[in-house]
Structures are given as C-alpha cells and as structure tokens.
Symmetry: C2
DNA sequence: TTATATTCCTATCTGTTTACTAGGAATAGT
DNA sequence: ACTATTCCTAGTAAACAGATAGGAATATAA
C-alpha cells in the first residue's frame, strides 16, 4: 500500500482552510477542526512541522490562532506533503544511496527515482490558491457547509 | 511516508530475474534468491499473488520452478506493483468513494485521483523487457555478479 | 490580578502493518 | 523410496498509524 497518511491528508485540508482565511487575521484551530470535521487534538500534532518549515505562523493566548506565512499562491501541495509525510521518494535508497550496496548499479532504484520526480511534479502543480479557487467554485452540502 | 514496501521492491527484482530467464525453462526460487541476495523464505510469500494474477506459472517437485506466463514485453511494472502493493491510489477514497462522506465534493480527493494517474502512467511506462535491456547494459560488480 | 482562551509540549495507548522466520504438507521427477 | 522443490499456514518482533489526554506556557480582557 502506497498511501498518504492522515497527516498529509488532514494537514492539506487544514492548510486550505488557512488559505481561505488568508488576510483575515489569525484563525483558531477549533474553527478549522469544526469546518473540516476533524479533531482539534489530532490537528495539533500537524502544527509543529508546519511551523518549523515556516509555512504557518502562530499567535498564542486569547485571540491567538494561525496564519499562513506567505500567500496561498506561493505554497504548493508538494511543500505541505513533503513536510508532513517526509520524503516523497518511494524508496529510501533514492535519497540515501548508502542504505543499500546495490545503489550504484540498481536498475529498479533508477525507476523509483523517476517515480519520485513525477510525484513531486504533480504535487508541485497545485498551489493553495488553486485549491481555494476550486473549493469556492464547488457546491458543498451536508455538515461541512 | 509514501513508500513502496519490500513486497513491491523484491517482487520487481524477482520478476526481472524471471524475465532474464524467459524461454529457458523453469527457474528455481533458490537461484533467484541467490542472484538477488534475498531470502527464499520471504520470496515465497510473493509467489501466490503473482500466480493468481497470472503473471507467473509454477512447476512443482524436482526440476520445478517458475516461468513468466507471457513475454517480458507484455508485463509492466504497474502490473507487478499493483498486484504486490494493492491499489496505486494514495487514498482509499479514490477507489472507494463510500468510505468518506466528503467524496462527492472533496477537492483534495480530486488531486489524489490525479496523483494515482501519474503514478500509474509512470509505472506502466516500464516493461520487464525494458528493465532486462537496461540490466544487461549496466555493469554489475560485487557479490550480485 | 484574576479569569479565560488559546497554543504548546509530552506522554500514552490500541490496532495494524511490515518484514521476516519456521514447520511441515503436497507434488513430481530419479 | 529418496530427494528436490513448491505450497500452505502460523507465528513474531518491531515499527507505524491514528488517535486521546494532562497540563504547562502565554496572552488578552475584566
């Protein structure tokens, strides 16, 4: 199973919410969780990596919350997934040749490396701005407004 | 971490070995394991799914072994990975919309679906014949001949 | 200065998956 | 009968996934 975990999936939705709130002051995690129907307690864990990658900025205390550090057009899905999921390569040997003594002549390794490039390129093709635009032009029914 | 497991990785190497032996009669798992420096006991587990997908064929007993069921040019890496790793989509909601009530209007789901297409296309771009050709034109040093 | 709202840090827990190892049955040539 | 091989079923230790929880730190507001 080659799957993105909930970190990457929920984290993307969190970032889309922040993007929709861009320029409107800090947004509460509570509100993000409510809009996306996710647990505040779980979303909390996604914050530290996003902060240390300087994708978001926080304000503590009452009237605190979170902001994007740059405009939604400058943040791609690749940035988000890379931070929350770790390396985008399908095999460790791609980024760390030393883990396998076959790396120097392994033909499958070359293919995993190409696969990483196509994944990276696809994800880099979407900015948060693109996603907000699409979000706003899509009808939302049910509990998630 | 969006990683291919050892099933997919070792299974690909196993299939490349069978491809190199294509037309030369059944090949022993013992020999495949020796050439790829992998455990016979572990490779055994990769056989049943490959057989039920009709990618390989087996002969039991003494002088038994394994064959590809079709020519290396007709088997792609996508076939192999799909069988050994399961669905190629990065999220279950892509192939089973019912698992999430957001599927009807979720914008991230659309992106995961596109990601699946690019992964599929990349993997479908390699046949075992391509890999054998590349293998034979690459120098191999060390214990894996 | 107290109360309140919020982020922040660390720990814990349960189930699943991964990467194996192992025992021995079934089958087929010699 | 003997031997070589595939085949089938368990088991297992470690890591990972997907949470929940307690409470400290910080900032605003009354």
């Amino acid at each position: 199973m080659i799957r993105i975990s909930t970190k990457g999936k929920y984290g993307t939705r969190l970032m889309v919410q922040l993007a929709m709130n861009y320029g409107k002051g800090p947004m509460l995690l509570k509100d993000i969780a409510a809009k996306e129907n996710l647990s505040v307690r779980y979303l909390e864990h996604l914050i530290p990596p996003l902060k240390s990658a300087h994708l978001i900025h926080s304000l503590r205390g009452a009237h605190g919350g979170y902001n994007l550090t740059k405009s939604p057009a400058e943040i791609t899905l690749k940035d988000i997934i890379r931070i929350l999921e770790g390396p985008l390569s399908p095999s460790e040997c791609v980024e760390s040749p030393g883990v396998c003594d076959r790396s120097g002549f392994c033909i499958t390794r070359d293919i995993w490396a190409e696969l990483e490039r196509t994944i990276s390129n696809t994800l880099a093709g979407y900015t948060l701005a693109d996603m907000v635009k699409k979000y706003l032009s899509t009808p939302h029914y049910g509990e998630n407004q």
